[in-house]
């Protein structure tokens, strides 16, 4: 009953606060879109230089895709490549096939390789027998390991949900204290745990909507790679949001005002980016690596990526769900204890 009253009140307050609502729902979409544009433009049209002693191959390739431009002179092609007039050079000198990529831009690399592979596949069989011996790929700059949105996208979904929910829930719980309404509630027979549960449920409703919107947007609008089930991704993001929610409300007990709440971002939220798997943990100092185990985002980000890229199912990720659930429960219990500072009962 009391929890229900609290849930209804939070929903009403939230709906009135249009700007915070927008921050929760639209800001993550905006940033995701921006990152998507920065890291991969799918419409990139590569320019590929073609050097071959076989006139027939040149004709076939040129007719298959207008990206190809033939060069008589190998060194002229390489000069154009280094001047960034070309994205890649395909050299067909039977029996070997070599691709040289300019390499600076991951999306250009990807587009070039896809175009070349498509073109080679379209060659008639008698030719492909000779040319489809795995082309050797060289890079002028960079390497094949450069990230793209498909790789970092899943982490960003998890991170933005964590970040915004942490901030909004933390600040509104803090405001309950600074405006005196917490004290007012503590003068009622409401129990401390009812207050914490009420907050998690009230905000939980909005985080369900938020998770669904952000995940759908990333998959259907930004066209991020999605090998597994969208429901599992929403489940994980929701668990991550509830962890952020319980952590935000817990830490707000240790902040005196909104600015101090914001100061928790570099302390609590930013380190998670480094340790959550977005960057390779294996290359970090040994003593630093175990830190990733205490970061909720490690478990959320990993699960989201495995579902989206490797197509993992419930059997592979339920461990991560349990860990996130454990974090949430721990933070909620600590918050019930932290509220003791304001009322012993």
């Amino acid at each position: 009953m009391r929890i229900k009253a609290l849930v209804i009140r939070i929903i009403r307050q939230f709906v009135r606060d249009k700007r915070t609502l927008a921050m929760m729902f639209i800001a993550p979409l905006f940033i995701l879109t921006l990152v998507n544009l920065v890291f991969s433009s799918n419409d990139y049209e590569p320019k590929i230089g073609l050097v071959s002693d076989q006139q027939m191959v040149v004709d076939k390739l040129k007719s298959s895709d207008k990206a190809f431009k033939s060069y008589q002179n190998r060194s002229k092609a390489h000069q154009d490549l280094s001047e960034e007039k070309l994205d890649a050079i395909l050299e067909v000198e039977l029996p070997s096939t070599t691709i040289t990529l300019e390499g600076s831009n991951p999306s250009a690399n990807k587009a070039s390789i896809i175009t070349i592979e498509k073109a080679l596949k379209s060659m008639p069989t008698q030719d492909t027998e000779k040319t489809q011996v795995n082309p050797e790929i060289h890079y002028l700059h960079g390497s094949a390991d450069m990230e793209s949105f498909d790789y970092i996208g899943p982490f960003l979904i998890g991170f933005f949900i964590f970040f915004f929910v942490f901030l909004i829930s933390g600040v509104s719980f803090l405001r309950e204290r600074t405006t005196g309404t917490l004290e007012r509630l503590l003068a009622t027979p409401m129990r401390r745990w009812e207050m914490v549960v009420g907050y998690v449920l009230g905000f939980g409703i909005f985080t369900i909507i938020q998770s669904a919107i952000i995940v759908s947007f990333a998959i259907y609008v930004l066209d991020i790679m999605m090998a597994g089930s969208i429901w599992l991704v929403i489940l994980i993001t929701l668990m991550l949001a509830i962890t952020a929610l319980s952590l935000g409300t817990l830490l707000s007990a240790f902040a005196k005002n909104e600015l101090q709440m914001i100061q928790f971002i570099p302390l609590v939220v930013v380190p998670q980016v480094f340790f959550s798997g977005l960057f390779t943990i294996e290359t970090m100092a040994d003593w630093l690596q175990p830190l990733s185990y205490i970061m909720p985002l490690t478990y959320g980000g990993e699960a989201i990526r495995d579902i989206m890229i490797q197509g993992d199912g419930w059997g592979d990720i339920y461990g991560n769900v349990l860990v996130l659930l454990g974090f949430s429960l721990l933070f909620m219990i600590l918050n019930v204890l932290a509220l003791k500072k304001h009322r012993k009962l």
């Binding site: 009953m1 009391r2 229900k4 009253a5 609290l6 209804i8 009140r9 009403r12 307050q13 009135r16 606060d17 405006t179 005196g180 309404t181 004290e183 007012r184 509630l185 503590l186 003068a187 009622t188 027979p189 409401m190 129990r191 304001h342 009322r343 012993k344 009962l345």
Partner: protein, 242 residues
Amino acid sequence: MKSVIEVNNVSKNYQSHQVLQNIELTVNKNEIYGLLGPSGAGKTTLVKMIAGIETPTTGSISVLDSIMPKLNTMKQIGFMAQSDALYGELSGKENLEFFSSIYGLKGQKQKDRINQVSKLVNLTNFLEKPVNQYSGGMKRRLSLAAALLHEPKILILDEPTVGIDPVLRQSIWDELNKLSKSGTTILVTTHVMDEAEKCGQLGMLRDGKLIASGSPKDLKDTTSSATIEEAFLYYGGAHHAN
């Protein structure tokens, strides 16, 4: 007369700072008890302990025969804090709905109580308005309404009439008198001397000590003062002479 609030030798420290020292007071049923004192005297800390929010460092407080803090007893207490603890985004009605649900009121009973208390504080026509558009006085009145919703046996009001115009202040005091006659015990803090005259019993609080208590008339007579202010000065001065 039956006592409903008993404060027994209560002291309160925050770290090494002593806010209240050996407070003894008793509030009887149906009484309007006023705690008079300048700001910083410890009035708010004392009423918070009686309301069950804070706990005494030493000594004990019993309300309705049970030692505070106790959640069950807190159901019988209506508390109006010094700051207007209201949700600005919500309308007056939604605030009252929230606080009444916490005390378990629902359905028709809830509607009836909301209508009654908002009529009492003269806010019926402003219930749909968001609270952050209310004036200071309207917020005080809404806070008072929220404290009255569950028909508490004991009403604790921390500086209820600050920032309220004299006409409305008079009508609030009329209401408090009515409530007191109908069986509610009222504990009210104030730093306004003339307001203290309206209380049945007075406790004078200064620097964390209860310097005097009794009915306003007794306090004035014993000190042969014309006003409560003079009486307060007498007790405060005596305290200094020590």
